[in-house]
């Protein structure tokens, strides 16, 4: 009885997952079974139907037998002599070897079929190079020559091929794992090795990305966003990004900001037309378009951006970016304003639904 009711509770909780409503609690609704997000998810759902079907069968049979045994063969104290000393039953043994073998072979066959399907490369897919570092993400649109860190903008309905690696030939890091949670499975980031995964995003929205391989103190803080937008919005983004020229600032705050940026930040960070930086540090060229700061951690608003600039290690343990205690609050505001001034105009991601 206990076992059956517990089983019901489990099913109920699973039901909660399947019925996940978007946008509750103000945050993202992560759901790996989201059937609208990608064909990948639908493929997995299809497989799970079979597996859960067999699982339910096995579960019911074995649990039923357990319950029956508990009830029927309980020692009452009124027994006279020993129970029948059964040593075994060869036919039963064959049955409960062969039937499970058939079941698992069916599961194998269905899995193999799916794997072949998902492994086929899509011709004409847009290639995005992904690099994982402690504790941030780098994206490079190979076909367009555009680089952006921690946030990736993709057109809805177009296949993407992620080519994922760790390190850049000179600097190597540790293993991470790249996962756009509600959209497609994970793929490891391995120094010196290139892995890949393909997906066609089918639903417009902003997707929560996470690192899924223990990589250090801020493994939990190494997040990213993938913004799936209509084709024309993506076209505006990518054309704007390719054509981007860093404007010379005239506003005194921005001038001050640029001056400070060049002194304090330019050694590590890249902004197209302003600083080279180093390839193993985030690119800030389109910082003004970002909706998050600190690698997908906090909203990109002064309330979080300014403390981040001043003291990143205080917010994110183990982060490689140092603290700048010698910067005054006005200095920090200037740098923040300067960073926010770098963007492709005419894009607004604030209304995207969160998956």
């Amino acid at each position: 009885m206990l076992q059956r009711s517990l089983g019901l509770i489990v099913l109920l909780m699973l039901g909660l997952v399947l019925a996940a409503e978007p946008g509750q609690a103000g945050g993202h609704t992560l759901n790996i079974l989201d059937r609208d997000a990608s064909a990948f998810n639908r493929e997995v759902r299809g497989l799970l139907v079979w597996v859960m079907g067999f699982a339910a069968l096995v579960f019911v049979v074995v649990t039923g037998a357990l319950v029956y045994v508990t009830v029927k063969f309980r020692r009452t104290g009124k027994e006279t002599g020993e129970p029948e000393q059964m040593h075994g039953n060869d036919r039963l043994e064959v049955a409960w070897t062969v039937i499970p073998t058939v079941i698992v072979l069916i599961i194998f066959g269905l899995t193999a079929q799916s794997m072949f399907k998902l492994d086929r490369p899509t011709p004409g897919a847009m290639v995005v190079e992904v690099r994982g570092w402690q504790f941030w993400w780098d994206f490079h649109y190979k076909d367009y020559g555009v680089r952006n860190s921690n946030e990736l903008i993709l057109p809805v309905g177009k296949p993407v091929r992620f080519e994922i690696t760790g390190g850049d030939g000179t600097n190597y890091d540790v293993i991470h794992s790249f996962r756009i949670t509600s959209m497609v499975g994970a793929r490891d980031v391995i120094p010196g090795v290139v892995t890949h995964i393909e997906v066609t995003p089918e639903k417009i929205g902003t997707y929560y990305g996470q690192c899924v391989e223990l990589c250090g103190a801020s493994h939990a803080n190494m997040r990213f966003r993938v913004k799936v937008v209509p084709q024309e919005e993506f076209d505006r983004w990518i054309e704007g990004a390719r054509a981007f020229q860093a404007a010379t600032p005239t506003d005194p705050t921005l001038v001050r900001g640029q001056e400070l940026y060049k002194q304090q930040c330019a050694a590590c960070h890249a902004i197209k037309g302003v600083s080279q930086g180093a390839p193993n540090n985030p690119d800030l060229t389109f910082f003004g378009n970002r909706t998050t700061v600190g690698a997908g951690m906090w909203p990109n608003v002064p309330e979080y951006l300014e403390p981040w600039i001043k003291n990143a290690p205080g917010m994110k343990p183990g982060v490689k970016m140092p603290a700048f205690p010698n910067l005054s609050d006005e200095d920090v505001k200037a740098i923040a304003a300067y960073l926010m001034s770098h963007k492709v105009e005419g894009l607004d991601f604030s209304k995207l639904e969160k998956f």
């Binding site: 759901n31 059964m86 599961i107």
Partner: protein, 817 residues
Amino acid sequence: MAVATPQSTSRMGFWATVWDLLTTSDHKKVGMIYLVTSFVAFGLSGLMAVAIRWQLAGPERQFLVGDAYNQVLTLHGATMLFFFIIPAGLSGFGNFILPLMLGERDVALPRINAFAAWLFVFSAVLIYTSLFFGGAPDVGWTFYYPFSRTTGLGTDFFMMGVLLVGLSSLLGAANFAATVYNLRAKGMGLWKMPIFVWAIFATSMLSLFALAGITAASLTVLLSRKLGLTLFDPAIGGDPVLFQQFFWFYSHPAVYIMLLPYLGIAAEVASTFSRKPVFGYRFMVFALVGIAVVGFLVWAHHMFTVGESLLFQLVFVFFTVLVAVPTGVKIFNLLGTLWGGQLDFKTPLLFVMGFMFNFLLGGITGVMLAVVPFDYQVQDSYFVVAHFHNVLMAGSGFLAFAGLYYWWPKITGRMYPEFWGRVHFWLFLVGYLITFMPQYVLGFLGMPRRYYTYPDGLYLWNELNFASTVGAIILALGGIAWLIAMVQSFRQNVKAPDNPWGGYTLEWATSSPPPSYNFAVQFPTVFKSERPLYDWEKEGLKPTPVDPATIHLPAPTVWPFMTAVGLLITGIGISLAPDMGNASVGGVPGWGGWLAVGLVLFIYSLFQWALRKEYDHPVVHHTVTGKSNAWVGMAWFIVSEIALFGILIAGYLYLRLTGAAVPPEDHRPALWLALLNTFFLVASSFTVHYAHHDLRTNKFSPFKLGMLISILLGVVFFLFQIWEFAIASGHYVEALNAAGQSEAARKAALWFTAFFLIVGLHGAHVLIGGTGLTLAYAQGLAGKIDNHEQGTLEGSSMYWHLVDAVWLFIVTIFYIW
């Protein structure tokens, strides 16, 4: 010592008891060392789990963050796996119960057994010593490379600890295999052994073959940190994924090491508490062996997301789904054992029922994880965490407690309070379900594992995490109920009869607890089934009494303990040594002192041990195979050595054949020197062989001379190797420096790395083998060796021949090819 009266440790004072423990080789006391250590480890690690859940009870809590959290999760995993679930069933219950079930007085090699037990305890001490030197390891129990190369000193202690506990496991496994093979009551064929004995036997063979994987993984990480030697470094063309192949080659079979002994316990408990024989005995045995064999073919299902080819992945999917079949057979046979019985729902049986329900769920989710596209989505998520806790905690863990309550009367001589046993069980079952069922859902809702925190506002994360923490509190209460049950057992002191449950295997044929010599009877030599007490009762056969004064047991000796202490101190020294390429880590002042003291103590104790005869009275041993226990034990141990060289050489071959590692055109280690060395080593095998022959024909002087020559030939070999390495290291450094510019230099650097690693490991084995021969030589000089007691020589000469055979392989693949 001759046993005139039964031993009674309860009348000894505290210090006498301690000394007794330090000098014992009694399998029951050795089993107690493992049991106490492993259940204490469970409690300690359980508290860590509560700390983890406390941190995760709500979003963005600050109780345990960043590196501190990673340290706790690493220690939690490592402690539970290496120091609770593997040793409790295998070494704890295995040591206490196995000889009793076989009708024997002890295992094949009692003093090695004691040494392995202390080494086990000290390897745990070593890992926790890291807390005093800057912090515990924080790389996860899986210590993936390159992450494990970059972290603090805790990782060095961890690697060293894993190596030592691995050695302890190997010695224990060889011991059990030799015991099952060689020491059984007269008339007990292999097919008349209880299922628990088969389980231990299968697990021992699993361990001997599989441990090479984690030895290779931890050794290569340790050497990477200390000496900069690494096969996995992409900067010189190495492959980081190769680490994972090594690691999981052990760590998947390891989960069957964590299961099989417990399946044995389940069979015993199910049979006893239903008053029926085990259902389908032969199929139970085949299923155990099937799980062990197929379990070796599934390791890369832990690596589905690393980007291996489709074909590679398919092979592992196939075997992964297949291993569910023998596992299912075990559950069905357990059901068959219970079916039609007269079930007495005492605590041991409750835990077995709980196991069956929970393991069913865990097995199902395991098959789900074999569905690769789904695995891509839940790899390293809470779905996986829920799955492995399902099988390890609610599966094997429950059976560990089944075994504890089942054999508690036999081990402690007291009954336990049934009320508290039940409370413990129900709190654990309910607590387990509430802790881990929400975690399955969290996996579907995208929560990754090893995250010390999560943001507010993600759908249902707050609620599910909170529920899981509530479950952990319930589990903690269950732990308290367990402690109360144990304490009350001692306080109430209800004396246990010989056979409180009506069991039919031989451990129930003696007192609770058994006397030091186990049995003061000669058993009938007819074994009709695995339940001798049942069959003899039906046939009217009775054991014949034996006078305890005629029973001789091994003399107590402190040297196995001291040898283990020596290794602990040596391990601390190595852990503290400088880390090359990471100047801020390691090189703690005084490390050399630890190392020196440790080595001296180790060698001194080892020689004292060798010079201490095992028995004060000459004893004649009856063995099933006719070969000595030392011979059989070393033969099983050598399986593990072949596996170790095998796996490392396989890695080397992979790097060679894919063109990543290429020997340098010039400056490669000279072939002529290798051939000269071959002559020395092969010659020494001959001299050892003839010296051994001389001993067997009682020619003591030629024996000693032959040993001395063999040792000297080994020394010459070793000195030439040192010289060769000195030269080669210069060329290695040149290649490393040029690796950035020249592809040939990069490939040569990787080749040199493999060379130093494998040829160096062989050199270490020459050192070990030579030490073994020297021990036998010392015994010869001291007159402590003869035709009847020559275990050290039998073992060390076999080991020496292995070292020579491996050398021939090495010459071929490193010097000739």
